[in-house]
Amino acid sequence: MARKLVMGNEAIALGAIHAGVNLVSGYPGTPSTEVLETVAKQNPGDIYVEWSVNEKAALEVAAGAAYTGARSMVTMKQVGLNVASDPLMSLAYIGVKGGMVILVADDPGPISSQTEQDTRHFAKYANLPVFDPTTPEEAYEMIEEAFDFSETYQIPVIFRPTTRICHGCATVDIREGRRVQRREGFVKDPKWTIFPKLSYENHLKIEALARELSNVFSTYGRNAVEGSGDQVIVASGVAYTYAKEALTSLQASCRLVKLVTANPFPKDFARSFLQSASQVLVLEELDPVIEEELTRLCGEDGLPLTICGKHTGHTPYAGEYSTEALLEIISSYLSVPYERPSLPPPPALPVRPPVLCAGCPHRASFYAVKQAMKGQDAVFTGDIGCYTLGNAKPLDMVDTCLCMGAGITIAQGLSRMEPNKKQIAFIGDSTFFHTGIVGILNAAYNETDITVVILDNSTTAMTGHQPHPGTGRTMMGDISEKIDIEALVKACGVKCVKTANPLHLKEAVAAVSEAASFSGVSVVIFRSPCIALFKPAVKMEIQDSCINCKKCIREIGCPAITTDEGRVHIEPSLCYGCGLCSQICPVHAISGGDSK
């Protein structure tokens, strides 16, 4: 046993290793990424770990492993489960042999996501059990219980931490060793082949099992009640810790219920506190899942209770919770005094939206396309990754962004309805492999006139530099053959493919002009590594010949270029020497200096 400060995602990974997981697959996505990375880093040697090409592939790989009796885990963020929902829904009917955990991290806020969707709905929809930890230390214990639970009932289980659990660190006692599983191997049986008749029979079994699991969860020790009184607060996830903190601060007492299994809903456990309650408030981030279950149970049992929460206007639907937010909600609910301290208003503060890093090759790619398309009617469809930040001024080059891979296909719909406009889709290399290939194939087969710009920076940058098929590295530390993007798009039927270095502005603009004037699908591959992959060799400096026209500031928006007492200044600690600014300076007053 060693006492360590670990991040929630590390705790989950260490718990899974101790539980004897044999295979971990996933696709990177904030806030889930560090789970798989930690398993790879701490791999005792016998765990197979892979970043799969997308979440659907990852879930199927993990399911196949679990068919052999091995323990497997698949990791993704909440929107990743949308991609993996096809195998998820069917796997709930088929079941598993070895314990299988589907780790899906939700992101209240959202802090780094497209949606605030609640994975507990997916658990209900697919009829799968869901575990919802309240702290990193609880997640460490709970992940092992989730594996055991999955194996006992032969169904995959969803493990659903949220951002503050994933990225919060806590003091955890890490157990030594690892539970070794004896595996029978895959045994051929008609039960592994989904078929309408089998699905009907299994549907009956699933519903019966859900009733049984409701009883099991009613005695699960992590669903717990503390305090006393007829006023009840039911809380889940990190909201439970905010509630505890708020109650201490208010010196208020009530019964506080921690509920960590929203599905199958532990009805008998809920009855134990509902029957003696005068009022009930539910505190859960995202959707009113527990609230609705409690309301329904009151209806079933004929209990004359109002369940207060989102539907009743007591708590907000959107955004993450905090101790401050709950202080107001709880104090008004329990009628205890609380006054929010009034502070003097602060001076005007600068706005700091996230921006593309200084030296980021995506900035040069966007600028090259902007220059090439100057004066033409064009729509720029974007995608998910660092390059979504190309939406910010002064680049202003992302007109749409929907979900992974959608930029290429949205462009096709736009083009069909507005054929006189040029449609240019941007997609990063990892996103291209994830779901972009299908879009290119669709455009080529249907002969749609669009240009796709693939931003190949040789990594999955936004989530922290994970390998993908174009990098030639795997999570097992092996060197694999790189998948050649150029050959791949040609094989998809694209006749016009240009490759250029975006940091060579003239060459880059010419490549875009040529591709955009091609009738049919054309592809430009902009190849230049993410700045996190190398150290700068030179730094740019402003020469005395600078006329202070500020074109560099107005046009490219590099965070290293600012004004200092009215004069243009390049901050040496930020500059990566990409040289884009030197190529647009009208008087050639920016040049590469020493790297020091």
Binding site: T30, S112, I165, H167, G168, C169, P347, V355, T463
Partner: protein, 196 residues
């Protein structure tokens, strides 16, 4: 005893590493420690915060507003943004060097360190302004700002630890090749008053 500290700055300034060092020091001293920080999209030049809590009563991952014993502001305007967390008579340690976002250069909206410090002084009587730029220039690397600020905090008694305890934690958190420069940074921070 519960100790709450909030570190605020701009993505890339090293708040995460500073929070790791402080957390490791507390862990070594036998405390139950909790931390929480910004990871992901917001890191790219955006505002970042780290919450470090240790002691008996820290259920949640975030320091509640008005409860921070210490605010470590890596940048003056970010210190102001974080100042809602400081408790009455808490310490606000602030680096005086401002970082202008690109939006500021594009719109011409300026802000000044003096104005930020004046506001901070309305929030607490214990505002400690540190000339981080002068100190990291002496240390030889702007990336040492985080450890310099920890050193200045030690000098002011902001953290309940000794220099030796923090050095031991730094050695656990940092690779060996970075020990010397960071110990130098810590000592520069400890003697920050000489370089104001």
């Amino acid at each position: 005893m519960t100790f709450n500290c909030l570190m605020t700055g701009v993505g890339g300034q090293g708040t995460v590493l500073a929070s790791k060092v402080l957390a490791q020091t507390a862990l070594n001293a036998g405390y139950f420690v909790r931390t929480s920080e910004t990871i992901g999209m917001a890191q790219r030049g955006g505002c970042v915060t780290s919450h470090i809590r240790f002691g008996d009563d820290c259920a949640s991952p975030a320091v509640p507003q008005g409860c921070a014993d210490v605010i470590v502001g890596f940048e003056p305007s970010e210190a102001v943004r974080g100042s809602v967390y400081v408790k009455p008579h808490g310490i606000i340690l602030v680096n005086t060097k401002a970082i202008k976002p690109i939006t500021s250069s594009l719109t011409g909206q300026e802000f000044h360190t003096d104005e930020m410090l004046a506001y901070l002084r309305t929030r607490s009587s214990r505002v400690i302004a540190v000339n981080g730029e002068a100190l990291y220039t002496l240390a030889g690397n702007p990336r040492t700002l985080n450890i310099i600020l920890l050193g200045a905090g030690l000098a002011e008694g902001a953290f309940p630890f000794t220099r030796a305890a923090m050095v031991a934690a730094m050695r656990q958190v940092l690779p060996e090749k970075l020990w010397a420069i960071n110990e130098k940074a810590l000592d520069l921070g400890l003697s920050y008053l000489q370089y104001q």
